[in-house]
């Protein structure tokens, strides 16, 4: 779990150029971390690659926060 969380955090920090301590459980990619809609698509693509999983579009829409991403990937991986 913590390993997945760290890897997800690393991707988010790198991709959105945000401070690591801002990437909290309930931090919204768009509202809190400054992502635009295309950034969220790119994040999902990066998660798919990092974890070797497929994230379908309807699932991708539910991934709004850092916590959502960790939860989804933990269940899928």
């Amino acid at each position: 779990m913590s390993d997945i969380s760290d890897r997800v955090k690393k991707i988010v920090v790198e991709h959105l150029s945000v401070e690591e301590d801002k990437v909290k459980e309930n931090a919204s990619f768009i509202d809190d971390l400054g992502a635009d809609s295309l950034d969220t698509v790119e994040l999902v693509m990066a998660f798919e690659e990092e974890f070797g999983i497929e994230i379908p579009d309807d699932a991708a829409e539910t991934i709004q926060t850092f916590g959502d991403a960790v939860k989804f990937i933990t269940e899928a991986a």
Partner: protein, 245 residues
């Protein structure tokens, strides 16, 4: 003038007059080219003429699965797709009153839907690379209409709206999306016109002559170049002044 060394370009309809010329010019500027088309023999001939940095990637654009597989095949052959030229197109002319659903749908599928699919297929790589060039070959009739070509004109106008929308979405990622709208260009297709037809056409063209496929190739080369990085969502009309829009 323009240097595409290290870039890889996928060109559909490369077996045709305009597509072949686009491939030659991109290749001449140093790009690796993936030549796609339905007929393999002319693609092979072109690849042999070009020599190194040319790959043959046959694809039937009316086959959705084959179209969706093409970007992957291109990446396998060339390592990446930095430049996509959607040039392939078909016509199934008929008067609107007589046009069948099949004539309508086949032209929309090959000209417009395959363009959508190929754009989608190459975007992931371009987004990662933060660089990409998409050049969609539309037509003057997409802007002006043409009797007997409701399906073709709709597909070519559709390309323009699609390209502009996509250009908005990916501009911040260093990807440009533009159209070229050729007028009357000398190709195997226009060679079949009678002298009377040609005279009638030329009366509408201020330049007083048909265009050369190389003049479309040059437009594509510009839009594919690093120098065109600030040019996006535009339609470059290359028509000898036939329609000044």
């Amino acid at each position: 003038m323009f240097d595409l060394t290290g870039k890889s370009a996928l060109i559909t309809g490369a077996s045709g007059g305009i597509g072949g010329e686009i491939a030659k010019q991109l290749h001449g500027a140093g790009a690796t080219v993936g030549l796609s088309g339905t007929r393999e023999a002319p693609l092979q001939a072109l690849a042999e003429e070009l020599g190194e940095r040319a790959h043959v990637l046959p694809c039937n654009l009316s086959d959705a699965e084959a179209v969706n597989a093409l970007p992957k095949q291109a990446v396998e052959a060339m390592g990446a797709v930095d430049i996509l030229v959607n040039n392939a197109g078909i016509t199934r002319d008929n008067l609107f009153m007589r046009m069948s659903e099949e004539e309508w749908q086949s032209v929309i599928d090959v000209n417009l839907t395959s363009t959508f699919r190929l754009c989608k297929g190459v975007l992931r790589g371009m987004m990662k690379a933060r660089w990409g060039r998409i050049v969609n070959v539309s037509s003057v009739v997409g802007a002006t209409g043409n009797p007997g070509q409701a399906n073709y004109a709709a597909s070519k106008a559709g390309m323009v709206g699609m390209s502009k929308s996509l250009a908005y979405e990916v501009a911040s990622r260093g990807i440009t999306v533009n159209c070229i709208a050729p007028g009357f260009i000398t190709t195997a297709m226009t060679d079949k016109l009678t002298d009377d037809q040609k005279t009638g056409i030329l009366a509408q063209v201020p330049a007083g002559r048909m265009g050369d496929a190389g003049e479309i190739g040059a437009a594509a080369l510009y839009l594919a170049s690093p120098e065109a990085g600030y040019t996006t969502g535009t339609v470059l009309h290359v028509n000898g002044g036939m329609a000044m829009i």
